[in-house]
């Protein structure tokens, strides 16, 4: 069952007849909008006394001003600083002192905040998230401390981390001219230059109920939760309509060859990247399957050939990154011993050509379908996973929350021809960026 309904100001709260035990793997949910535009998704699972309360804001690094990058991620930190009713430093303490866990993360397209509590603390989770949305404290103290923290985060995760800047180089090339060209961590200079009113302005623009999904999964009573959600979130004023960024990727028509250096590495890497469509496209599914053929499991084509047979690579991987409005198909390899990067590049390229010229076997196709099923079963293991997957489906799949349940069917509807055609359409040599990623400097 998948009831979609709305609660208006004057309408009574609906009583939902919740179905009994969910059939295997189907995720039941209820969803509706509050008057202020906040979309609410509720999933009940009483198998453990746990509840996950989350808010997904449809704002990520792609919504940033190119001269002020890193804002969305900065807010991931700033929105733990407190509210009119929560003193600085108390937010996380309230969570742990009540037996919960919490965190947040930021991508190119959205920011996700969550708490996981014993189920008798549902209301606390709602209070915390509603305080954050209604009236967070954004002041100089918080901004200046979190600036330093974010700089340390960048040093730890990027500057001190081997191979961490591959993605910067790839995205700045593949997504040149679009807001995907910079990373969510952003520019420290931009954060230094930004004035307080720029931060408050960013909050007012994007962190509004009509740009957010409240997703709750766990041991809850649906009817009571609906009443509590209204009590805590109903008073938050609606914001101006948020228009999402348009991303126009300029197609690569001649191979781009680039070189970058990393002081944290001893072994070089060869990297290739192609432009692909956004995550709702059917081709995005085909490209994910293609990545699987190439490098999912020890028997996959690149692993088998380059690591086991020719013993020329220490590591090789192909992956399809699907963002909201565009994507990238990326491969990389690290040589084992003194093998040249061009040898690795040729071997990967020839496997990709093979996929353009020939259909994969029926047996390989069946393997891909089993892998997809396995991934699907594993994806909803914990309440916080379910809450996030429901919110992502609504946010990115044209408000089709039920995409969590149809995702596997979509993949099963793919054919071997779809896979070959995607390789032909997107993975040609002239359409790619090749990056030589070298030790030094």
């Amino acid at each position: 069952m998948n009831v979609k309904f709305f609660i208006g100001g004057s309408m009574a709260v609906f009583l939902l007849g919740f179905m009994g035990k969910a059939i295997a793997q189907k995720i039941e949910f209820n969803e509706y909008d509050l008057d202020n535009g906040l979309h609410v998704i509720l999933h009940r699972d009483n198998s453990a006394p746990v509840v996950a309360v989350s808010v997904m804001y449809h704002v990520g690094s792609k919504n940033e001003d190119p001269a002020r990058t890193g804002f969305a991620h900065f807010f991931e930190h700033l929105l733990f600083e407190g509210s009119d009713n929560i003193r600085r430093g108390e937010f996380m303490k309230l969570v742990s002192a009540n037996g919960g866990q919490n965190n947040a993360n930021t991508t190119f397209d959205r920011t996700y905040y969550y708490e996981v509590f014993p189920s008798n603390q549902l209301e606390l989770g709602l209070w915390l998230e509603s305080e954050r949305m209604l009236h967070p404290v954004i002041n100089e103290t918080g901004v200046s401390i979190q600036r330093e923290v974010v700089k340390e985060e960048k040093r730890q995760r990027v500057d001190n981390q081997p191979y961490a800047r591959i993605i910067n180089n790839v995205f700045s090339g593949v997504f040149a001219g679009t807001p995907y060209r910079w990373q969510p961590i952003g520019s420290m200079d931009h954060l230094n230059q930004a004035k307080l009113d720029e931060f408050t302005g960013f909050f007012k623009k994007f962190y509004v109920p009509n740009n957010a999904v409240l997703s709750i999964s766990g041991d809850i009573d649906i009817e009571k939760t609906i009443a509590l959600v209204k009590a805590y979130f109903g008073e938050i004023p609606k914001g101006a309509t948020v228009s999402q960024q348009v991303v126009n990727v300029t197609p690569i028509t001649n191979t781009i060859i680039d070189t970058a250096y990393d002081a944290n590495i001893q072994l070089p890497a060869i990297v290739g990247a192609y432009q692909t469509p956004g995550m709702t496209s059917k081709d995005a599914r085909a490209l994910e399957l293609l990545a699987g053929v190439l490098s999912n499991g020890a028997s996959s084509r690149l692993n088998k050939k380059m690591i086991d047979e020719k013993k020329e690579a220490l590591k090789v991987e192909a992956l399809s990154l699907s963002l909201e409005s565009a994507g990238a198909f990326i491969f990389y390899a690290i040589p084992n011993g003194y093998i040249s990067l061009n040898t690795l590049l040729e071997d990967i390229s020839s496997e990709i050509k093979e996929l353009q010229e020939h259909l994969i076997s029926e047996k390989d196709f069946e393997k891909l379908m089993n892998q997809a099923e396995n991934k699907y079963v594993a994806a909803n293991a914990r309440n916080n996973d379910v809450a996030e997957n429901l919110a992502s489906a609504y946010t990115f799949f044209n408000r089709q929350t039920n995409h969590v349940n149809t995702a596997l069917e979509e993949i099963r509807a793919m054919t071997r021809e779809d896979i070959r055609n995607a390789a032909r359409k997107y993975l040609n040599d002239h359409q790619r960026l090749v990056l030589y990623y070298l030790p030094g400097r």
Binding site: A97, E152, P162, A227, I265, L314
Partner: protein, 475 residues
Amino acid sequence: MVAFLPEAVVAQRVKAGNAIDRTRPPKPGPAPVIEIGDPVIYTLQNGIKVLVVENHKAPKITATYFIDRGPVLEGEKAGVTALMGSMLSEGTTKHSKDEFYAAADQISSEISFSETGGSAVAISRFFDQSFALLAEGLQQPSFLEAAFAKLKSQMITGLKSNEKNVKVVADLVQQAILYGKNTAMGEFPTAQSLGGLNLNDVNEMYRQGITPSRGYLTFVGDITPEKAKELAEKYFAEWKGVSITYPVIPPVDNPSATEIDLVDMPNAVQSEIAVANLISLKPGNPDYFPLLIANNILGGGAEARLFKNLREKHGFTYGAYSEIGAGRNQTSFKARAGVRNEKTDSAVTEILREIQLMRTEKISDEELKNAKALYNGNFALGTENPGTIARYTTDILINNLSKDYYCTYLQKVNAVTADDVLRVSGKYFNYNNMRIIVTGRAEDVLSGLRKLGYAVKQFDRFADPLPGSASVVKE
């Protein structure tokens, strides 16, 4: 398992409509009742203990075989145990690696091996095949010369690839400096030790380590105890191997006076700091629970003192944490943080200050209450994962804990007093006889560290003392 939100509380607040009181955190409902089910346990004829946790929530089963072997002293053959573990993934006498992983990947089963056993995860309808492959990999590895040569070269290249990885080097040298480079806990592989290995070494390590002795076979997920028993009998009961005794490792002394051990990594932009000492805390020791609380308040997470001080107050770091462990052999207490080079000495000072505070001043009632609440909550959250019960039971069996150890876990946590915390902080967190291990760019951090007044010893990234780096003590 029962958990509920009491109707009265909810109805009251909601009736008030918009009049909910935002100024204070809402009150919780009554604590949910947590019941930990008992797994089914039995023993195979060769001594393997089989545990089954039945949970049909998802159509998926995990099987794990774990050999409780303990730390192995490898000496000049450092790396041989890990290499043997990797060799288990290189095919069997019945199936080449190609065939083995083609079969596993075809059913999308994740099968992995290590020096202490292996695991198989599969969706239910493929589990029998997956489990058979796990058993085959453990019991009939092929150990071919070509695979050995390939893995050896990959491991050597892998070491090279991490030479400039500050975090990886820090983890290794911290162990080496704390326990001594020539101990099972402190040693680590080098290109030289790996280069000297041959296939016989791997065969011998397999014979000594991969065996039914001290073995635990755990099933978790969409499987009945009857079915699990049938599979265990079929694939594991006939297996034979050497008998293992858990090693007793001689304890290592902490330094007689606190010293700074600086490991130079010229490419570092952050220093990895570990303020640490070794502790002896056997599983089941009643000090464990107050120490758990003490550690939690010092550095258990984002609300703890180290994080509050180093990150939220000073912005020195992305995160600062502390850790303790109980073990049959020595374990360590560590307070650690990655901080930018120029704040290295300031961060050390703040870490030491927080440790000393724990040792000399009683924690507040609120801190104690909050720490207990965290463990109570986390215990409830743990029930989300059916594997938790298997983990608890294995822990009881391996460490010979009382049968009701986890049933009474929260009682023991809740009985801890502030006096207990003060006592164990003084006993297990050293101050005057510990190590401050800094892995970072010596050129940037050395002069600041010298000003702290402790002896400074310098090391290279292999944890060997640097020639000519005499200890310098500031007056």
